[in-house]
């Protein structure tokens, strides 16, 4: 459907009656009126203008994400789930970097771990926050500031998923990001998992091992895995199958930091994805300079960052190509076109014996 009609229909959907049915009273009112003198029909009591207004403004939120997707994506090609993966492949320079990265990562042995140990990952996670102040600019727009707020994350995840994980957040650089308290996450033992927040309560679970045996090491299998259908209906913006597969790549890499063969399969799979290219001069969340293998779609940009000399995987970033595009009535400062809105930089990966123990 054309974008104008699609957005119009979405606006219409946001204005539909809650039950999509007329009030039961209306039927009686109509049929009573039909069958009797119209002047004697009962009037439905009127609600206040305030309530009406609240309904107007409250109802629009539901489709915001969908409208955004329509705005941001516009007319892309096939949408997720409607076409098989294309195999046109990444740009040649991207293929070269990905091949070198796959070669580099498999040169090192996999980290050996016992089931009772923990995978320690130290990373810088950065998220952009926008602060919309009360101040108005000279032309009447609202002034907002955007700021990347990094923090240092240290996570200890149980190798077999049956021991308690631990996550600690620490300040990073000059960031004033409020830090959450250390989070213990109960392991899944004998199919049950306790909730540290609610003593005495447990729920059914399946262990989620930090070292996963289910991720493919074969390129074709990895492609099938990255292009798998699913994750629809989550309210996330619709993207093409290629974009979705590319976005999943960094998740798989970060879930397989102890498994070089899995990572290599991801790199080789990404090399077969259309639209993947190279953006030089990238900087990761920890400030390290690198070379980025990127994919842009509509306003979205995702990138995998590699060390420009060793081709080691440094991290990922994601963002809107231009945050200020399409923002009416708000002037955002502190952000420029191409700035990422979320970033992850992997600093250290190790196997340790205890949660909370530094390598």
């Amino acid at each position: 459907m054309n974008p104008d009609l699609r957005m119009l229909r979405e606006l219409g959907e946001s204005r539909t009656p809650p039950a999509d049915q007329p009030p039961a009273d209306l039927r009686r009112r109509v049929l009573t009126g039909v069958l009797s003198d119209r002047s004697r029909r009962a009037r439905v009591p009127h609600r206040s203008a305030g309530a009406r207004l609240a309904w107007r403004f409250g109802a629009v939120g539901a489709t915001a994400a969908a409208v955004t997707a329509a705005m941001l994506i516009g007319q892309t090609g096939h949408l997720a789930g409607t076409a098989p993966p294309a195999r046109a492949g990444a740009a040649p320079e991207a293929v070269r970097i990905l091949q070198l990265a796959a070669h580099q990562v498999t040169a090192a042995p996999a980290l050996a771990a016992r089931p009772d140990q923990f995978v320690f990952v130290e990373s810088v996670d950065s998220e952009m926050f926008i602060n919309i102040g009360k101040a108005k600019g000279p032309n009447g727009t609202q002034l907002a500031t955007a700021q990347l707020m990094p923090q240092l994350s240290r996570s200890w995840r149980s190798v077999d998923g049956t021991h308690d994980d631990f996550l600690r957040r620490l300040p990073w650089g000059s960031s004033r990001r409020p830090l959450e308290q250390p989070v213990p996450l109960s392991g899944c033992r004998d199919g049950r998992q306790t909730d540290p927040a609610i003593p005495g309560l447990s729920r059914a679970c399946t262990p989620r091992p930090a070292v996963r045996a289910d991720l493919p090491t074969d390129v074709d299998e990895m492609l099938r895995y990255l292009y798998r259908p699913g994750d629809e209906g989550t309210g996330e913006p619709k993207v093409s199958v290629d974009e979705r597969a590319f976005q999943r790549a960094s998740d798989v890499i970060e879930a397989s930091l102890t498994a070089p063969a899995v990572q290599a399969a991801v790199f080789r799979a990404v090399a077969q994805m259309p639209g993947v290219t190279v953006t030089p001069g990238a900087v990761d969340a920890a400030g390290r300079h690198g070379i980025a293998v990127t994919r842009n779609e509509g306003e979205f940009r995702f990138g995998l960052i590699f060390d420009p000399k060793t081709y080691r995987y440094l991290g990922s970033n994601a963002g809107l190509v231009n945050l200020t595009t399409g923002i009416a009535g708000v002037t955002v400062s502190g952000v420029k076109s191409g700035d990422p809105t979320t970033e992850t930089a992997i600093l250290r990966v190790a196997i340790v014996d205890r949660a909370g123990q530094l390598p």
Binding site: L8, H46, R56, M71, F129, I132, T141, I327, A328, G329
Partner: protein, 207 residues
Amino acid sequence: MAAVTPEADATVIRESLADPDRFAALYDRYAAQLYRYAYQRVGPQVAEDVVADTFLAAFGQRTSYDLARPDARPWLFGILTRKLARHHRRERADYRALSRSNPDAVVDGPADRVAARVTAAAARAQLAAALARLSTADRDVLLLFAWGQLSYDEIATALQIPLGTVRSRLNRARRKVREALGDVNPAGDEFADDPADDPADNMEDDR
């Protein structure tokens, strides 16, 4: 939409001439979609009134219904459209309010989500502003098509206008909507210079 069979709506209407109780079947068939459309255009309170008025008017006009037309949907939407016309000032005021309602509702948060909300709000504001600016005739055609999901033929029957007029109105309305969506107005103050755009006037009940 109810399946159109030879003895469908026209038969119900013919039978209701002798037996008014039969008219309830027409209500049960079309009340939900008429109410939904009216609700989209003028909100819950007025929607109840206009849908009730529509059926009462339809009942009164059923003697002149063209029984050669089995499907009564365009006829009912046509009556509803005329009932809605009385509320056009309120409807336009609503769209204008919607076009101005942002981005005050946007709260601080992670940038992607804020950007998404702000972008969505901006798009919605532009769309609402465009709807407010359309002529009543153009808006009727556009919204019968986009929200009422009537076909060109049904719209022509409902509004008693030639098919060519439906097409030209729809093209014009969509062009204006597209222009509004493509044209980001950073200040969002399309109505700032409109002397008729007095907030008190906007909220005035026009009945």
